[in-house]
């Protein structure tokens, strides 16, 4: 009985791994205000880019958007996985260390100062996120970056940024405010193709570097002293992972605002399904996170088409029940 169920789950896992990215991409391309049937979609894909309305929508709007969703989902999920390992805290998410606050503050500051050109808010968000991260690190370094100090200083930098942000929103004229709030809620519709390419390069390198740190991440989950006993230079590794994960979050925030839930829960789901070893966990959480956000975005675009629901609503509505289900059935693996 046990062998059978083990074989069954292994089969399900393998099949899901193969089909999930393709299915998610297809769904994401087909869904939206202009609904495409599967055969139409296949035909359009075979035709390649062109000038027809449907071709334009597919190749110039939906494909970049699907790729953006995949990118942001992968970045957040990778970042969450790394933070949870480094901080040994299941509640750690990409936004824990003040990155979100810093990014939001950067973007809103740029908008309220009148720099509303398409390029500026993402860039400002990126700089804001990295600044917050550097600040957290400088504070925590005084105590050799113990996890508690990192978390506490992250929360404090985040609160500081949130306070400044509220102040800016209160002072700024109303349309700028609305734009900022809209941006903060997480939005996948602002991507421009040039940004997307840079984003893929950025996230791709971050992924490879983190993957190369997989054994070190495993050791960090064992606690500082154990990791050091096993030969890890804990302070240096922690700083490296911390920087990589922070840079991934900053990139995700710059491209799509604050998309919630993905970075917290996808790593847990992957850990429940595939165990805590980072050699598998890093690539699988990137894959799973990317697919998850593509699907969530497809749903967000099609439920009230032509209107869009914020994608964060969908990620939580989809992810939370699934997570609760896993928790109930395999909860001891957490």
């Amino acid at each position: 009985m046990k062998v059978q169920s083990g074989a069954k789950t292994a089969w399900i896992r393998r099949a899901a791994l193969l089909l999930l990215p393709l299915a998610a991409l297809a769904w994401s391309l087909a869904a939206g205000s202009l609904e495409l049937s599967w055969s139409e979609l296949a035909a359009l894909l075979l035709q390649g880019p062109g000038d027809g309305i449907e071709q334009t929508i597919l190749w110039r709007i939906r494909l970049p958007r699907a790729l953006l969703a995949a990118l942001v989902g992968a970045a957040l999920s990778l970042s969450g996985t790394s933070f949870q390992a480094v901080l040994r805290n299941p509640l750690a998410d990409p936004y824990l260390l003040g990155v979100s606050g810093g990014a939001a503050l950067g973007a809103v500051a740029a908008i309220s100062l009148g720099f509303t050109a398409a390029l500026v808010p993402p860039l400002a968000a990126f700089i804001g996120a990295l600044t917050a991260l550097a600040l957290v690190y400088l504070v925590a370094r005084a105590h050799s970056c113990s996890t508690h100090t990192l978390i506490l200083s992250g929360v404090m930098v985040g609160s500081l940024a949130a306070a400044l942000l509220l102040f800016l929103l209160w002072r700024a004229p109303s349309d700028a405010t609305r734009q900022a709030v809209f941006w903060l809620a997480g939005n996948l519709s602002l991507a421009t193709p040039g940004w997307l390419a840079w984003g893929w390069i950025w996230v791709g390198s971050g992924f490879l570097l983190l993957w190369a740190c997989a054994p070190q991440l495993d050791l960090l989950t064992q606690g500082e002293e154990s990791a050091a006993d096993l030969g890890l230079n804990v302070a240096r590794t922690r700083l490296l992972v911390f920087t990589l994960a922070g840079a991934l979050t900053a990139c995700a925030v710059a491209l799509a605002g604050l998309v919630g839930f993905v970075g917290l829960v996808i790593p847990h789901i992957c850990r429940l399904l595939w165990g805590p070893g980072h050699r598998l966990l890093i690539p699988l959480s990137a894959l799973f996170g990317g697919c998850f956000l593509m699907i969530a975005d497809a749903i967000a675009r099609s439920v009230y088409a032509p209107a869009e629901i914020p994608v964060g609503v969908v990620t939580a509505l989809l992810g939370a029940p699934f997570f609760l289900y896993l928790l109930r059935h395999k909860g001891d693996g957490l």
Binding site: D218, E225, A228, D229, N233, V234, L334
Partner: protein
């Protein structure tokens, strides 16, 4: 191999070591023994380089420990910690594989085929092959200790540090793993430094023993037979023991004398005059042993007052930092009247508490037994008045006792 000279270390304001010197020789089994909180585990972490000393030097083969890179250090020494809180559900075999990290050749994985052999052997030697697929979050304390030992074995280091690594094990595994350690030492020449609470086992397996006292100083050092004497153990652990030679192994074997003073005092009614921590041991031990114990006068907030209150011992209280008032002294006199034995443990005499000695004089005249605890080394801030009084008390038959243990022993004999 490891040399420690003039080591100084403190946790914040609390000095753990002030000038410690020791060497660990290549290929020996050295046990660090001593009471709780004396710094045994801290010493191990300092030797490993996980804590940085405030002063002095620790060298491995002549190289300061702080200058040895992490990866090289992990090939020199493997550590078996007291335990760990497993929060990520790695399988046992995965956790043990982490021990191969310092020998890793491949970027992504811990273990190649050669490593797998080492891992299997480590699992076998610690009797956990059956647990290999189990998540470490679902192990008992003893199982986890064996897993951590297996991880250290997989590290194949020339030195093993064990921090009470067998404390949660059942007796069969404890003996088995001790044998394993001895065998590693004999066959591979592995140097073993262990912190232990199991005096017998440490005596049986060690070539050398380092006995630390509560102040982080070396109380005794040398072969088990020379270190594990009743006298040394009494000095360090404050217990009475009898040391015999184990008839099978020849190792010293320690028998705590549980039938000591505790059960024999049941009929004694005792009043204790103390203060400033001079009564700490007596308050606790007499509270357990005596039929009736009272204390005082004590200033509120004095450590002895806090302890006596916590133990629920009837006592006479005085305001903080105040001389004892006539009322307090009267109440005390009444308590002393009810007691049969008066113990004076106070070590510092000033104008404020001198009157207690008069209470003692009255008690002696009424035929009660009075003990003076270690007053020879007491401090007199009364221009010799206290000393004169104490001399008078002696003349009247007060008995001087050097320390608490001797006093308890005498009280026990008297009660019999």
């Amino acid at each position: 191999m490891i040399a420690v000279s003039n080591l100084a270390f403190s946790f914040g304001p609390k000095a753990v070591f002030s000038a410690l010197n020791l060497t660990v020789r290549r290929g020996e089994i050295l046990s660090l023994l001593g009471p709780n909180g004396c710094g045994k585990s801290t010493l191990l972490r300092l030797l490993r380089g996980n804590l940085r000393a405030n002063g002095g030097q620790i060298t491995w083969a002549g190289i300061p420990v702080s200058e040895i890179p992490a990866a090289i250090m992990a090939r020199k020494v493997a550590v078996v910690p007291q335990g760990m809180q497993a929060s990520f559900p790695f399988k046992v075999k995965e956790l043990v594989a982490m021990g191969r990290y310092p020998h890793r050749k491949n970027l992504l994985s811990f273990a190649d085929r050669e490593d797998q052999r080492v891992i299997r052997r480590a699992l076998a030697m610690t009797d956990i092959i059956g647990l290999a697929e189990r998540p470490v979050t679902r192990l008992s304390g003893g199982e986890l200790q064996r897993v951590l030992l297996a991880r250290a074995l997989a590290q194949e280091a020339e030195t093993l540090f064990l921090d009470e690594a067998t404390s949660h094990l059942d007796i069969d595994h404890r003996l088995e793993l001790s044998e394993l350690l001895v065998r590693l030492n004999r066959e591979l020449g592995t140097t073993i430094v262990q912190v232990s609470h199991d005096l017998d086992l440490a005596a049986a397996m060690s070539q050398r023993i380092l006995l630390l006292n509560g102040q982080g100083e070396i109380a005794a050092e040398g072969a088990p037979g020379a270190v594990m004497t009743a006298e040394n153990l009494r000095r360090v652990f404050r217990v009475d023991v009898k040391v015999e030679e184990n008839p099978y192994t020849g190792a010293p074997q320690i028998h705590p004398l549980l039938s000591g003073v505790v059960p024999r005092l049941e009929t004694a009614k005792i009043h204790l005059i103390c203060g400033g921590g001079s009564g700490t041991t007596l308050l606790r031990r007499l509270h357990l042993a005596a039929a009736e114990l009272s204390a005082g006068p004590l200033n509120e907030g004095d450590s002895d007052e806090v302890l006596a209150t916590a133990l629920g011992i009837p006592l006479v209280r005085e305001l903080p930092f105040s001389p004892y008032s006539p009322t307090a002294l009267e109440e005390t006199a009444a308590m002393v009247d009810r007691a049969e034995i008066l113990i004076i443990a106070t070590q510092w005499w000033g104008a404020g508490n001198l009157a207690c000695l008069e209470l003692a004089e009255t008690a002696l005249k009424k035929g009660k037994t009075v003990y003076l605890l270690g007053t020879e080394r007491g401090r007199d801030y009364t221009d010799g008045d206290a000393e004169k009084k104490i001399a008078i008390l002696r003349g009247l038959g007060a008995r001087s006792v050097e320390n608490e243990e001797l006093l308890l022993e005498r009280l026990g004999r008297k009660a019999l």
